[in-house]
Symmetry: none
Subunit: 226 residues, 2 copies
Amino acid sequence: MRVLVVEDETRVASAVKRGLEAEGFAVDVAMTGTDGLWLAQENDYDVIVLDIMLPGMNGYRICSTLREGGNWTPILMLTAKDGEYDEAEALDTGADDYLTKPFSYVVLVARLRALLRRAGRSETVMYEAGDLRLEPALHRVWRGDTEISLTAREFSVLEYLLSRAGDVVSKRDILEHVWDFDFEGDPNIVEVYVGRLRRRVDEPFARRAIETVRGAGYRLRTDGGR
Amino acid sequence: MRVLVVEDETRVASAVKRGLEAEGFAVDVAMTGTDGLWLAQENDYDVIVLDIMLPGMNGYRICSTLREGGNWTPILMLTAKDGEYDEAEALDTGADDYLTKPFSYVVLVARLRALLRRAGRSETVMYEAGDLRLEPALHRVWRGDTEISLTAREFSVLEYLLSRAGDVVSKRDILEHVWDFDFEGDPNIVEVYVGRLRRRVDEPFARRAIETVRGAGYRLRTDGGR
DNA sequence: TGCGCGCGATGCGTGTGCTCGTAGTGGAAG
DNA sequence: CTTCCACTACGAGCACACGCATCGCGCGCA
């Protein structure tokens, strides 16, 4: 699955690239509008993530240029909500979906999946670790046969941990992927949410799927904590 | 089922394309009148959606050209209600039905289904989830054996939820599919209508088919809420 | 045929419960 | 003993649900 990311903010671009690659996407990044257009025309991507504010050539022009050339690759446009540019205009120029900044990585992935699904290019995804099961599209989680209800944020954290099951995931990673890219609050919030998750998915079932790796982060056991 | 959409407003075109593809139609889009006529003549579509105001060649001329050439593919014409062009003229030139802009996606689909049904090219579609049943063509809804009467808007929302039964559907999705493409009111209206639907299809039967997924959207249970 | 009245559909404003994030303290590991 | 993590309590903000005003349409009557 090939993805082109056209984004000049290095921080966002690299976080997205790392994350998508970890999920098995092949990611190209363009830091300028002209580069982005060039890459999009020269290669056959499955989906394009396109920032609007770009040096060289803005996202609208890239988008409409591609469409005029008969290129109908699904495009997800990133819009700032400062009013200067808006979503309607994004769709007008031929984008398939939009996302307002700031956004978090997991939301981006969810939207990409939806786009790919609509384009008929992807199969339904499901995460599994032992008897712990999570379906992103359905927004549902099970331990064995019993369903667990989680809040949106709890769900996102668990989804990310599951997407990297077996790995040690640093708190910084979690923060960068689950929270908005411009979140600047207390990193302690990650610990709070891991705690809440344990209380919901581990304790009632006498398991310990989420392990603490002191000084490094957390690891979700691939056997679900048996 | 093949559909040709001739429409120059990218926003409308891509929204229609996405939606129809999600329902299993094969959709071609033409952005100019000349392209549209060309595609319509070269391919055998099951139905054609045709905007009137088009760059290159307007919808009337495309329509009458096709009819003169012996092409009787059902045509649904899109008219703006500014009075410059009108519906009578659309039908005169050989269109089978018309729709005034702005329109919402579900209305478009309903009309297309009606056209296909009249042309004898489509099987009756029916949505089912547990004992909840909806027939788009008849515009009727049942819970078990008792019929439920809904307003147009309520029906549209339920139809869309049923078309994606089991999935979490975001409020934004519902808004974009059920309301006019240019609706810019309070998104809160979605919550209002979900509430009304519950009062009509859930509460009287002590069911809960429509679940709230806080922070994500709504989900229609595939078992109808048993 | 034209005007007026009533009802139903639609969408907006407002209240409330829940979620989220912060701060602070207690505890365990190294 | 120090550092890092777990847990709790609480306040602010938001997502959601509910009642109400408005708009438009259809029916009835003149």
